[in-house]
Symmetry: C2
């Protein structure tokens, strides 16, 4: 093949990514927006559509029905109590799917945050287009509710690490790796630096030849009717938390020709698709001269610092989890002691050792049921935090091992 031919792009891929904010009974104008999204997707005919927060399977079925002509292949990833919210529509047949649920994902008792109930996951799709193998990943990480005091940071760092490891271990046979989704991390956050450093994935926003959309590529902007303006106050331009990342492997290279975000409104409409902006990338896949070995990613020495930073966050989380495990365990023991004491009192009154006053049945039963309740709740919490401790310890362990391998590779370069 002549050199000029080699540089011709083999394939153009148009990818649409959107956090749909389609929560039944809670999201505003949900059905109208789902219909709007379906309209746009069928008009535009993208190659690949990666959606998040499609919490209701009814919405997925609506989309599937509307899009079946244009996107014959689709998949909904089921996990958690209400579903992962992740789904994909593809012009090309999906050959295989696989789901990895993150080991940590918030706390079930934080009902107002709800993340735990979604079973946040990363979904993998395998596609083959013109004999090029694509590993497509779609994900949604734990939300950030308070940037100043982010209790979920260790969980999100664990998720970013597991996401990176999942991609690295499952993408060895892929020619092109593509990740789209709501990572709930600003571009400079430790989790995304870890993910990008560890996997070698490139950011379509920084790499795009042409960009059109919100300033700085933001995807949560004050101009959007549905966003919480108060939360965005510290960021007048908005924040960028939705990404399309990619890399070429073996003898393929990927280039982002054009990146577009919506700008607070769906084009030609009065309302936006969602509280997030859509991210639309036009990628070109080219063939290289020579094949790269799957492990030949250049190791950046800066990655060592990033990994140490991430380990520190994991350790902070570990200390918090250990404290919570301890205090819930102590509470369970106290409740148990109270119950034992009550049992002794109850028995002694039965055998007639008690005072001549009538036995206080009412306060006794109220106290008893309170103790049972506290025992149950703190017991379950103790188990939950024990699992959290194990996962954080395990992650710290894996990170230490990875760091060691990394340093070995750096020193033998």
């Amino acid at each position: 093949m002549p050199a000029a031919m080699e540089k011709e792009p083999l394939l153009q891929l148009r990818v649409f990514d959107l956090n749909c904010w389609a929560i039944r009974y809670l999201s505003k104008l949900r059905q109208e927006r789902v219909q709007m999204i379906a309209d746009t997707l069928s008009q535009e005919g993208y190659d690949l559509v990666l959606l998040q927060e499609v919490w209701s399977e009814t919405d997925y079925r609506t989309l599937k029905q509307r899009l079946s002509a244009c996107y014959p292949s689709s998949h909904y990833f089921r996990s958690g109590v209400i579903g992962s919210g992740l789904c994909v529509f593809s012009k090309y047949p999906i050959l295989d799917t696989f789901l990895y649920q993150y080991s940590l994902n918030g706390y079930p008792y934080m009902l107002q945050h709800g993340d735990w109930f979604c079973g946040k996951s990363v979904g993998l799709l395998v596609l083959k287009i013109q004999e090029i193998v694509f590993n497509i990943y779609v994900t949604h990480l734990h939300a950030e509710y308070c940037r100043e005091k982010d209790a979920y940071l260790p969980h999100r760092v664990v998720q970013a690490w597991e996401l990176g490891q999942f991609i690295q271990h499952t993408s060895k046979a892929a020619d092109v790796v593509l990740l789209g989704g709501d990572l709930n991390m600003h571009p400079e956050d430790v989790g995304i630096r870890l993910l990008r450093g560890w996997t070698g994935l490139r950011d379509s926003f920084t790499d795009a030849e042409r960009f059109e959309g919100c300033e700085d590529g933001c995807t949560l902007v004050p101009d959007n009717y549905f966003t919480n303006k108060k939360e965005l106050q510290p960021f007048p331009l908005g924040i960028r938390i939705d990404y399309i990342l990619y890399k070429g492997q073996s003898n393929f290279a990927v280039k982002c020709d054009r990146l577009v975000t919506t700008t607070g409104k769906a084009p030609g409409k009065s309302i936006p698709y969602s509280d997030h902006e859509a991210v639309i990338a036009t990628l070109y896949v080219k063939r290289h001269g020579e094949a790269k070995a799957p492990n030949s990613n250049t190791v950046e020495p800066a990655l060592v610092d990033i990994m140490n930073e991430a380990r520190t966050e994991v350790r902070v989380g570990l200390h918090a989890a250990q404290r919570q495990r301890y205090s819930s365990g102590r509470m369970a023991i106290l409740a148990l002691l109270l119950l034992l004491l009550q049992a002794v009192m109850g028995l002694s009154s039965l055998v007639g050792w008690a005072s001549p006053q009538p036995f206080p049945k009412f306060s006794f039963s109220v106290l008893g049921s309170l103790a049972v309740l506290v025992l149950l709740v703190s017991g379950v919490l103790h188990i939950f935090h024990a699992i959290e401790v194990k996962v954080l310890q395990g992650t710290e362990d894996q990170m230490r091992l990875a760091l060691q391998s990394l340093q070995d590779r750096l020193s033998t370069k």
Copy 2:
């Protein structure tokens, strides 16, 4: 390279696999047996040791300390409340590790079965020996407590499927794939046929050139002092549930030269290592002439039937889970109604609408706390079974997609 050279084995690998039955406070003669296992492992100097049911990290540390000279690299996989019980010792450096926790693993309220608390998982290790990449998997699936009425069969089938998918997706760059562990399945069970058919892994027992050990390769035998003789009554020879499976990929082939099991006692000792027999394989890795593509496993038409059989089991589990989700939800609603009724009664007595008789404070409070307790427990159960339903539906979906791809591949052959 001359043809004769090509056939020379490149590498010999001696692998030791054992379910150690090391449960703190519960397993008999635990510490003595851990010491015995450490003695044997350091004397024999295997290349790779795959252990299960090392539930206590203290036992792992004891082993690590005793074995550090002979096995410089080791890893303990942490998951669940008490740890996965999985650990490995290796003569060669471990380059990377990854853990996949199965989506379903029994029920937390089945305290007597305890599987849920272990967070059953598959651990992956990456080794490189003489430039050959080894992906080593160690796992332990959900136990079978009653073969006639096995309530955990759908969970175990889901685990076998996830294990197969995890191996397939993560082993694309490996030259040799090796899986060791307690699969809790008899050789003809649907789960193991699915796993073997889907991954192309070969059974060291059926493939070994020489075999020494218990008849039929059994690893849970009546001759073992610790086994439950009553449970083994239907199987006079015992059962085979511990496996070493393997395959060569790219341009490598693997052969099992010799397979050994212990026979109810540790060699030269009066007691066994565990209630399971150890499985010891001597494998040879050879280099092929030509490389095989990673996806070139021959597809067996029988796999279609196996997958349909597995899907039926998943569907049976799905119906059971849906019933349990429904009945726990109904119970929660009834408890809520009772509480509401009580609230109305309480309020009406406060505003003086009640009868002239004194308000029955004691029975009122007992009934109230009972309702709160039932509401809490059935609410948690409802959430748990809702997750179970989602996972079973998701697995059924993935299996259907995989079956479709399989049939496409078979029809284009």
